[in-house]
Subunit: 410 residues, 2 copies
């Protein structure tokens, strides 16, 4: 869906004003990879000294550009300049040898055009799979892209990477430190399916903090667990999911992985973008937070929370504003993680629904049904077994999801 | 849905004629547990000497009658008579202490009425959860049930245990042995959700074979893996799933767990009933077989097959008759089991769709789209890594599923 068509009912009202990040310039262009009449390539140029870290899909059928990024991300040297190039319309996934050749061609061309080493150029592709990527259309745009690089063009970049997204996704925060202010800014795409194939989430974060590559990697790997790895739309995993973070050091403010304010700011920003992805979930009409406490471990809590968030029966009940707590009990039971039926407490918002192995004596179906009419719903489960906890976010499962995904190519 | 309303489009044309099994008598009755104007309780009386074995849901939030059955099923002594009693309309799940008391009351009443030991009476309940089971309505029917016991009443029993099923499920086979013929007959219920809560599959098998309880248990546990544990409608797991098998020995034909003909007959019968459950999947319009070969192990093959069969993106594509092989690649990638992208071969029926990490050169989208119009679809994946294999069965994910489950209580 192109920008300008109907936004998700759960979308933020406006795209935020994103300030420039020192050491980063953006450009976007219409290469005609698949879409016509819109930008479909974005280029980010990163100043010498920029540390780049990232996390990637765990899929065993990863796309060619993901494999290329993963090979390069361990490179901790960041003396030279760097670049990120992303196209929409074609995912370059399941494209055999030609897929690797396309990545190689794009990487070489960007490296030559910006005079940066090839192992400092990172690429992503999102869109149809199984079709060769017409990489010549992308490289043909490079002179124009480089000529158009500008510190203020990040909003255009956010538009260029969209596929089935109904709105562009961006977020920003400033972190105050004793040495000065650090800027963190990010864009993302992802909503569910991409014509004709799979959900892909792409996230690009930029900061002017001065931080080593290993520290940046440690931080983003850890924070990813409670943000992008804590959301689900339909339980399916893309072959192309990519998150890259670039720290230019332009602010001169030195940050380590343990810096409280920076951690907090980066976490907030990542969570904001992750929530925007859920809010653009295909067919989504409700935004759902699932909180699990009292588990034997945090991992157990997340297993339960994801079992609830991924259950088609739970998600359809929410779509129908049905306070169907029995389906929550079912999802906990099937998750495989430890649970004692008679110790469970289940709440919808502040309403205690079930406790001591049975429906709460004070609960009424009308109360639950009234709560379920909200556009944002919080489901809490306490297991009373230990101190493990986790929170995940999802959306409901509606006729809209079926329509988008069953009828896409027909 | 009561019998007589519209059957699933994938249902068998008729309920099969099920012959009597020596040593078993059935009765059913309208106890008014929840449904009105239909039978909702079935009783099976088993002759002295009957071995009873079973398999149960792995849920951590199992219902009271399941926990009771599990406690009793290890009892290998089978000198006395036995009984199975099942009600529909109320699952007696998540009902706290009162749930255990209801089971106890029913078990005691059946044991007294049939003069069998309490630990030889097995019960199941299916229907709403979280509501106390009005067990008095069931026990009040016992004199009439016992008076009505008859070897030919199994079809009525199959009707009495239905909840949201659109058709009753039964199957039968004869096994020829050198000592004579053995009869195996079974009934099942299950389709997806049960008002207002969860999918429950109940299966009761009866045979006149003479087989020890440990042999019967070993056989049914093993065969369950490739039959009822190889089907999925929506990836959700009931708190009440129960399979019981009773071997009366009335044929006088001695069978061991390794008897080829009996294994084969029982496997065929269990698979038939398992397929009938999938064919009654909520909203199902297509019956789907997923075959995985060439995995590192059978377990890996099943992990891949279930990832494909449970993927909402795969299931919606099938609903839309979309030959979307990219979603198969995605599901394999996310399953967590070993796979090499460039070694995969994917087929729709006999049509090779993808091989060597790319779409097959001979494949055309028209060919795939034509195949996908079939009501029965076979998806085959070869991983070319080893000799592990598995086959699972599922149905598509349609607007019907959303309508049934999102709008159930509204």
């Amino acid at each position: 869906m192109a920008a300008g068509e109907t936004w998700s009912p759960l979308a933020p009202k406006v795209f935020p004003k994103l300030p420039a990040v020192g050491g980063v310039r953006f450009a976007s262009s219409a290469a005609g990879v698949k879409y016509q009449g819109r930008d479909d390539v974005m280029l980010a140029e990163l100043a010498a000294g920029t540390a780049v870290a990232g996390v990637f899909t765990q899929s065993n059928t990863r796309a060619a550009p993901v494999l290329d990024c993963q090979r390069k991300i361990g490179n901790t040297s960041c003396d030279s300049g760097a670049a990120i190039i992303v196209n929409s319309g074609n995912a370059n996934a399941f494209t055999g040898k030609s897929g690797d050749e396309a990545v190689e061609a794009i990487i070489c061309a960007v490296a030559a055009e910006l005079s940066v080493p090839e192992d400092r150029v990172f690429s992503s592709s999102t869109g149809v799979i199984g079709e060769p990527l017409p990489h010549g259309r992308i490289t043909a745009q490079l002179p124009a892209l480089v000529a158009g690089l500008h510190a203020e063009k990040i909003a255009n970049a956010a538009q260029a990477i969209m596929t089935t997204d109904t709105f562009p996704k961006g977020a920003h925060c400033n972190v105050q430190t004793s040495e000065g202010t650090v800027n963190i800014t990010g864009i993302a795409k992802g909503s569910g399916m991409i014509a004709p194939d799979m959900a892909t989430m792409l996230v690009y974060l930029f900061t002017d903090a001065k931080i080593t590559q290993p520290d940046l990697q440690a931080l983003v790997s850890e924070l990813n667990e409670t943000t992008f790895n804590a959301i689900t739309v339909d339980s399916d995993t893309s072959t192309s999911d990519t998150l890259l973070i670039a720290a230019t050091g332009a602010s001169g403010v030195e940050i380590t992985a343990s810096h409280g304010g920076f951690r907090e700011g980066l976490h907030k920003l990542m969570l904001d973008l992750a929530h925007q992805v859920v809010r653009d979930g295909e067919g989504a009409s409700k935004f759902v937070e699932v909180r699990v406490t009292g588990a034997l471990s945090d991992q157990d809590a997340k297993t339960h929370a994801m079992a609830i968030a991924n259950s088609p029966l739970v998600k359809t009940a929410i779509a129908g504003a049905d306070p169907n707590w029995g389906r929550i009990v079912m999802a906990i039971g099937k998750s495989g993680a430890a649970a004692e039926r008679d110790l469970l407490t289940i709440k919808f918002g502040d309403i205690t629904v079930a406790e001591n192995g049975w429906v709460s004596p004070d609960y009424s179906e009308e109360q639950g049904a009234g709560y379920m009419l909200n556009q944002e719903v919080v489901i809490s489960v306490d297991l009373a077994l230990g101190s493990g906890q986790a929170t995940v976010w999802t959306c409901d499962l509606t006729h809209g999801y079926i329509t988008i995904n069953a009828d896409y190519r027909s």
